[in-house]
Amino acid sequence: MSVLVYIEHAEGSVKKTSLEAVSYGKALSDKLSFGEVVAVALGSISADELGKVGSAGASKVIHVNDNKLNEGIIQAHADAVAQVYNQVGAGTLVLAKSSLGDAVAARLAVKLNAALVSNVVELPDNTSGYKVKRSIYTGKAFAETVVTADHKILAVKKNAVDLKTDGTAAQVEEVTLSIADANFATKITSTDKATGEVLLPEADIVVSGGRGMKGPENWGMIEDLAKELGAATGCSKPVSDIGWRPHHEHVGQTGVKVAPTLYVAVGISGAIQHLAGVNSSKYIVVINKDPEAPFFKAADYGIVGDAFEILPKLTEAVKAQK
């Protein structure tokens, strides 16, 4: 029984979280003695990029090079993945949790009559039954979930397993599918997307600012530090509510949930709703002038002081250590 991994890409570059999903699929297959790990990539994507999928642990990539699939039309992607799943005789589908991935996985769960477990943080445990650990209450707790269906879909949270980079080249199989027009009923008319930025949900390092930054004109300091660290920038809810920063940068319970290796919070007090969006971070650094800010209780490292003095020094110090 093979493991199928759904790959997402942004303008032809495979998302890092999807490569992690491939590594998760490989580790799962090794642990449970399943068969081949097959990845499915939809739309136009280069051979180089498909090669990365092999390094991450897939032995085969099924590439459906259909331009109509370049955009993430939810129903069309679900239909294509279901066809491939059945063709390869897979028993498990793995994918990275994302806004498209969630929507596609939900439709697939019905199509494939499969159990869908989301926010998976570890490999399954099959010592008695089939158990999966997933994150719930926006990272405030975990649930041990028993899966009873034969077919399984696992939507994997970032950092559930380490990214594997030493796999061998995958065999790429070009496949043509027939996808009914009804699946393209939703039309994407335009996109408005920041280019050249590190994407927040994918980032290994995130630098976020809160109301302590006093105004959007001071964001240059956050961006300078982020640039030096190769980080994505985020913000607290009040900051996106008052329009200092765009909504897609809002980190928190009702915004983007991040799981970087390093989260740097500047001028954010640490309301419980913000903490819920960052509590899967490996290390948290807090810079705040208020020593009583609740965020310090959730932090690994902290500096009590004025962000406007500390940020330039920190950016310099990061530059100096390179």
Binding site: S99, A106, Y137, H248, I310
Partner: protein, 245 residues
């Protein structure tokens, strides 16, 4: 035009999470339950659409009797009537099956709900309902306008927005800033008491996941503070101790 808004009954976002019965049950002690924040955005937009289009607006919850105050609140905010499917929401497929069954019976043009519940965060129910009903589903929707039978939407994607169009009927998983949350006024609260709230039994059974135990994350150690006049020390710690640079 008929609009259905599906809401969850979840712990308030400021709740501290605890479990009882040997970590097998959620501890409701001292927890205030609310309309899921994302569902609340969907409801707020639906109330605007109802006024704008002269639509009917039904609100639905799959839950036991304890969720009725949450449904009454949705009625106070502006829904015309409420349906409660009298069952514990066992898993996302179970909930999606109940919603689909009600929708098949009543034939809604637009089904709205939050992008995800804030207890289990799956973000699956809208897609499942869409597939069960053979309708398009779009999520997370941050802007939604209805123009005749065309729905124009903005959907949040990683790093930006995508603008979409689809025909009704449609299912939308919603999030901010689709509308401002609405706070019920006194007239709304009074009228909510007499608006119809229909209780129906679950019509489809079957689950394929079951939670057997809960766990809290390990407690965080105490913070290591670096003096504000020694900022390079922080970089040294991140590089040599945490090994993240």
């Amino acid at each position: 035009m008929k609009i259905l808004v599906c809401i969850t009954h979840v712990p308030d976002t400021t709740s501290k999470i605890h479990f009882t019965d040997n970590n097998t049950k959620f501890d409701k002690n001292g927890v205030q339950f609310i309309i899921g924040p994302y569902d609340d955005y969907a409801l707020a937009r639906a109330v605007e659409l109802k006024d704008q289009l002269g639509a009917s607006l039904t609100v639905l919850n799959v839950g036991e009797a304890e969720t009725e105050p949450t449904l009454r609140k949705a009625l106070a905010i502006g829904a015309d009537d409420a349906i409660r499917v009298n069952a514990f929401p066992k898993d996302s497929l179970f909930v999606a099956n109940q919603i689909a069954a009600i929708a098949k019976e009543n034939g809604y043009d637009l089904i709205m709900m939050g992008r995800e519940s804030i207890d289990f965060n799956g973000g699956m129910v809208h897609g499942m309902v869409g597939e069960l009903l053979g309708m398009p589903s779009v999520s997370p929707v941050m802007k939604l306008e209805v123009d005749g039978d065309i729905v124009k939407m903005a959907r949040e994607i990683e790093g930006g927005k995508e603008y979409l169009e689809a025909k009704l009927p449609l299912i939308a998983g919603c999030q901010e800033p689709i509308a401002e949350w609405k706070i019920p006024n006194m007239r709304g609260i009074m009228s909510a008491r007499t608006k119809p709230l229909q209780v129906v039994e679950a019509s489809v059974d079957g689950v394929n996941t079951e939670v057997i135990a809960y766990q809290l994350p390990p407690a965080k150690g105490s913070v290591k503070l670096v003096d504000k006049d020694n900022v390079p020390e922080l970089v040294r710690l991140l590089k040599n101790e945490a090994k993240v640079l």
